[in-house]
């Protein structure tokens, strides 16, 4: 498997707070990678750095062997990375179809192809939103909004999908359905990195786990190896998971 995303010694500080410190990791193509850690470990900051929302103070970020450090979010999305936020970033006045349509739009001012309907309909189908395309996002329940947010990211046809807390606030049934959706996306060839506090669900889903604490990577390995890691247990998991 080839490396799709690589961070090299990236750091980011907010005033006196070192949110991310000399962080280096690689994400293999086709894998589902879980990024876990206690609150304030710097997980979301890593997503912000990858997506260009924040610029690293030092270090470089490479996507498919291309340096994407400091690029703007829309340029990074154009290169093939998409992010699904914990709180849906949709347009409340637009229908679900229109929200997905926006993600499939070309950034060019003049584009011959108006709205490629194939990725829109495929994303809607995968998210189970086909029958709700003419609804407004506000009419969806929490789990529906989460599926819409992922569908929005998928509609950009990414190679790498970053999922920010996809399971937060969902019931176990909804988590199961969402996990199946994420696995389907991986089976289609998408690489996925997800951040979540629901360790059990993450461990069941992912191929590999990265554990962060105080802005640093403290462990990297398979779910089985991570659960047994004494350092991870001490910093984050506790002894219940052993």
């Amino acid at each position: 498997m080839s490396v799709i995303l690589e961070t090299r010694q990236i750091s980011k500080a907010f005033g006196g707070l070192q949110a991310v410190h000399n962080l280096s990791f690689r994400v293999q193509q086709g894998e589902i990678t879980g990024l876990i850690g206690p609150n304030g470990a710097g997980k979301t900051t890593v997503f912000n750095l990858v997506m260009g929302t924040l610029k690293p103070d030092q270090g470089r970020i490479h996507f498919k062997d291309r340096d994407i450090t400091g690029r703007k979010t829309y340029q990074i999305v154009d290169l093939g990375i998409a992010r699904a936020f914990q709180i849906a970033q949709c347009c409340p006045g637009k229908t679900i179809f229109e929200n997905l349509e926006l993600c499939a739009c070309s950034n060019r001012l003049f584009s011959r192809s108006k709205y490629p309907s194939a990725p829109i309909l495929q994303a809607a189908e995968q998210a189970g939103l086909t029958s709700e395309l003419e609804k407004l996002p506000g009419m969806l329940p929490q789990a529906g909004l989460r599926r819409l947010e992922i569908a929005r990211a998928v509609a950009t046809s990414p190679d790498l999908l970053l999922l920010d807390e996809p399971f937060a606030g969902l019931t176990s049934g909804e988590i199961g359905a969402l996990s199946r959706m994420i696995q389907e996306l991986r089976d289609q060839g998408m690489t996925i990195v997800l951040v979540d506090h629901n360790v059990r669900s993450v461990m069941r889903l992912v191929d590999r786990v990265l554990v962060m604490s105080f802005g640093q990577l403290i462990a990297d390995g398979s779910p089985g190896k991570i659960v047994a890691d004494p350092m991870v247990q001490q910093a984050y998991l506790g002894t219940d998971h052993v």
């Binding site: 829309y74 409340p92 179809f97 003419e134």
Partner: protein, 353 residues
Amino acid sequence: MTQRRRSPASYIIFGSIVGVLALLPLLKLLPTSWYAPLIFANFFAIFAMSWDLLGGYAGQMNLGHALFIGVAAYTSGLVSVHLGWPPWFTIPLGACAAVIVGALIGIPAIRLRGPYLALVTLLALIAAYKLVLIYSDVTEGISGMSFSPRSFFPPLGYDVPLAQVKVITYYYSLGLMTLIGLALLWVARSRWGAIFEAIRENEAAVEAAGLNPAKFKVVAFMVSASAAGLAGAAYVHLPILPVLQPGGLDGVLSLDLSLSIIVASVVGGLGTIIGPLIGAYVMKLSEQYLSELPLHVDAFRFLEGQGWITLLFLVLLIVLVLFAPKGLLPAFLDRLLRRQAVDVEIREEGRKR
């Protein structure tokens, strides 16, 4: 495309309004005194619709829309007067000048939002006004340029009777309004329009979708400025415009004009293009009607002079905004849809029984 954008409703309403306006002179329903306000209303409708694309669709609060109108009007007017170039050349030239100014004003919009952007647009308008005063040897300053635009207006010469001039000018302005209105409607319902709306609703969502909001904001400014500028430049060459002046009642760079454009858009319904069109006609025609009221109705004669008519007009606008805060068109459509929904409900109830 979705149902909403595919719906021909906007074009049907637009066509109906244009149709009615086109029939008025033919059916001799228009008193001579109403030509001038209607001609101005046609231009005012273009100004309001072009503002709506930027303010209503893209959510860019522009308090200085008259800047685009004034820049185009002065460019076209000055080039015509000082260089003697014909209107068919100076009108597009004026529109081009407005587009350039639109792009320049659009650049700060990349960083600024809400009241800060509103302030920049307002200051730019005041700066342009001052510039006209500073170069008063060329622009004739606050008193305005008293050239003879009639000679620049291609189909008309000095020998055409005034009544005919009014009718021709009316159709000229209506034709321009129709063309620019259709173009703005087309843009609003296109991919650009969808992106403008998304920028207004959630700029972060636009960027997360892989689109560059900054680029599309500047485009919104340029398209809005081009429409306003084209109308502003054409307005200068109207045979019935007495002088080209920056401020005052007919001022093309006045804050009054900017604000009344926004009022018309709000009264009609933001983000609809058709709403501001309706708002513009409602405002201009009710203004004219109220000003004529004391002449026709004895009971209102006491309102003559004294500024009571303006006050009454302002109170009416406040009442309109209070009772239809989303604007006249959305209020009408909401009521229509609600009535349809009730009808469907009653029919279904009846079927069940």
